[in-house]
Symmetry: C2
DNA sequence: TGGCGAAGTCTACGACTGTAGACATGGCTG
DNA sequence: CAGCCATGTCTACAGTCGTAGACTTCGCCA
């Protein structure tokens, strides 16, 4: 994986550092923080284990940088506006398909959560990346809670479908599964208070008092 | 933790075996499969590491028995019938509170998911325990998928709130969080096809067309 | 072309892992 | 009281872990 060196990489500090970082992201995603050693990562990058300590200081700091790389893209949330729930649900179902080879931040998160230090690093990364990105899309009351609940649902589906591989979810029809998840995400994307009709004390008889969490419909269909 | 031996346990094979098993459940739940060694488990049980191999054959088989013990109680799903979503949501919020000391099968699941062998053991245990229990409560179309989706949501909340400790969910007001989760579980508890009216196209006619996920309102507010 | 600093490697250490085999010990039965 | 087998412990082994220090090699610049 991640071919070590095509012709033999010459002495290029930046390229070597990047090769180590790429190998670390892949390795941590596949096996988790405790499941992979620095020797294995170094071999994937085509270098020696000691170079990891030279460039990153320690395995823990390498992990922190790998987490930053893996959590940076906003692919965890797909689509904008009214299409956010559907797009996110369909992307989630597609990427967690049993035959999919795609990696992603959720696999890294789930497989490294057991280690307390790794958990702390990821908590801080989530506060930086995912929280910021999601708050751009979600507005309304409790946007932070709803954003993290969307992440929770996605993480749970990744866990069951890809990490554990439970039967029902693995064999479910993708379209119907995506529709169910879309309804869940729709409930979290809209900013209204939960269960509008069942809360008698909620002011306002209209079940959707503030239904404009999305500024404008995006141009693309 | 789990005081090794009050006065000094005499030679009692069954009690010793049970002590090892109890210590294993606690240790695997706290640190995950790869995060704890057999010596540590044995010390918690007040015995020597080799006795684990004598009674269970290997660390992996001890883990399998611990998983069976941890997954056996049906506490992952609370309440019955119409009160299932609310009861499950409130129990989930209570047990995942940051100050809660309670352990549980989801912590064991999340913290051991990185190891492939542990994942396989837990997949089989879920197929036995959780699937059977949940299918007793949930009926209708795609009951298995909906059951595993309920497990997914719960696992995600456990991950974010207790394992990672993300800020928004950790600091959320328990009552409002429980209401949001209750609406999610209500969507999964009812057997109807997802998105009854929003599927044709998101024309904003009636936002809440069919909203009777629960037969009767639970007594408590 | 020489040399010098950066880039990369080699060896090794101490700690830890799961487990196999040999050894010790105590409670029950004759 | 004697013996014996289940119960439990001790020592050890082969392996892996992260990483510190010394060493070598290459590329650039004067």
């Amino acid at each position: 994986m991640t071919d070590p060196a095509p012709g033999r990489r010459r002495r290029d500090a930046a390229a070597t550092r990047q090769a180590i970082l790429d190998a670390a992201v892949a390795a941590f995603t596949r096996h988790g923080y405790d499941g992979v050693g620095v020797r294995e990562i170094a071999q994937s990058a085509g270098v020696t284990a000691m170079l990891i300590n030279r460039y990153f200081g320690s395995k823990e700091r390498l992990f922190a940088e790998a987490v930053d790389v893996a959590f940076a893209p906003r692919t965890v949330i797909a689509g904008t506006g009214a299409e956010l729930p559907g797009e996110t649900a369909r992307a989630l179902v597609r990427r967690t398909a049993p035959e999919a080879e795609e990696l992603g931040p959720f696999l890294l998160m789930l497989r490294s959560a057991a280690n307390p230090q790794a958990a702390r690093i990821m908590r801080e990364a989530i506060a930086l990346h995912a929280g910021r990105h999601l708050n751009e899309e979600l507005c309304g009351p409790d946007a932070g809670v709803r954003a993290e609940l969307m992440l929770s649902v996605q993480a749970g589906v990744w866990l069951m479908r890809r990490v554990l591989g439970t039967t029902a979810l693995a064999e479910a029809e993708p379209e119907k599964l995506a529709e169910r998840l879309e309804s869940l995400f729709g409930l979290l994307a809209e900013g209204g208070s939960p269960q509008p009709a069942r809360r008698p004390l909620a002011e306002g008889g209209s079940p959707q008092p503030a239904r404009r969490p999305l500024a404008a419909a995006p141009p693309e269909g």
